[in-house]
């Protein structure tokens, strides 16, 4: 599937440099796929902990880790969840670890290696401002 980069407004007028954002649906929250910045430098896939209860994901007793994001200390709680990616025509779904972080200062989730990139063949066409994403033939998913 081909995904155009996301154009965003600049507060001062004009637009920010368009970014590679993928919309990943959490099982239980299919009506609102989470916009996640594609982050090839990140090991984890992370989202705001505010989203977990909306999808019925229980974080009590989950493995946690403390990290710094944009200079802010945050606690990530691990959950293995069902995820889906669609462009309205094709749909890919897979299971993966996601770290739900509180607080979460980033406007998007982060789609990192674990949880996202390990499952797909991703071609970044930054000049042309789009991504091509295909499921990896050896990754688990449908």
């Amino acid at each position: 599937m081909r995904i155009p980069f996301r154009a965003l407004p600049a507060a001062s007028g004009g637009i920010l440099t368009p970014r590679p954002v993928v919309d990943i649906a959490l099982e239980g929250l299919a009506s609102a796929p989470i916009g996640c910045l594609l982050d090839s430098g990140a090991l984890r896939t992370r989202m705001s902990a505010e989203l977990a209860p909306l999808a019925g994901i229980e974080l009590t007793g989950a493995l946690t880790e403390r990290i710094y994001v944009r200079g802010i200390e945050t606690a990530g709680a691990l959950a293995r969840v069902s995820l889906a990616l669609t462009d309205g025509t094709d749909e890919f779904s897979w299971e993966a670890p996601v770290w739900f972080c509180d607080p979460w200062p980033h406007p998007f989730g982060l789609a990192g290696l674990e949880g996202f990139l390990h499952h797909f063949i991703v071609t970044i066409r930054a000049y042309d401002e789009y991504l091509d994403i295909e499921p990896h033939p050896h990754a688990h998913g449908t």
Partner: protein, 165 residues
Amino acid sequence: MTTMTVSGQTFDLDPQRVENALRGQLPEPIREHFVVVSGRRWPPKQVLALVTGLDRADFTTHQARRALTRLGFTAARAARRSNRHPDGPQPATPKPAHTSATAQTLADALRPFIGQWVAVRGDEVLVAADSPSEVVSWLARHQQRAQSLFRVPESEQAISGAAPA
């Protein structure tokens, strides 16, 4: 102040009173017509009902539009949209985008909501609110599906250098 009669009742309205009545409310889905109040699109009947306290069955969309345009608000008709991906089927060799008209349209639609959580479908902002739970609750209440849920970043820095391990 403009005096107008709606459903047999007389109201003295001004733009400030309309904006005050909408404070803390979320716009319902736009079916066809909308008015722009405080940079957001609202169904005309929702606005007039909130401002006057009248039941929506007491007036038509056109009466609501007329009343609100008399107060200086812009009214328009939403373009028909399909549910396909914003950029639709892709050409085999896409032109360098540098930023397509669709992308520009979405950026413009997002501009009033910088710092807020939004649900987006195509180049349309379905709803904006201060928390993701408000957005998700609105989607459920109105049986809407979004393509993307995120917080509109305040700056270039807000989406840079975010990579922890």
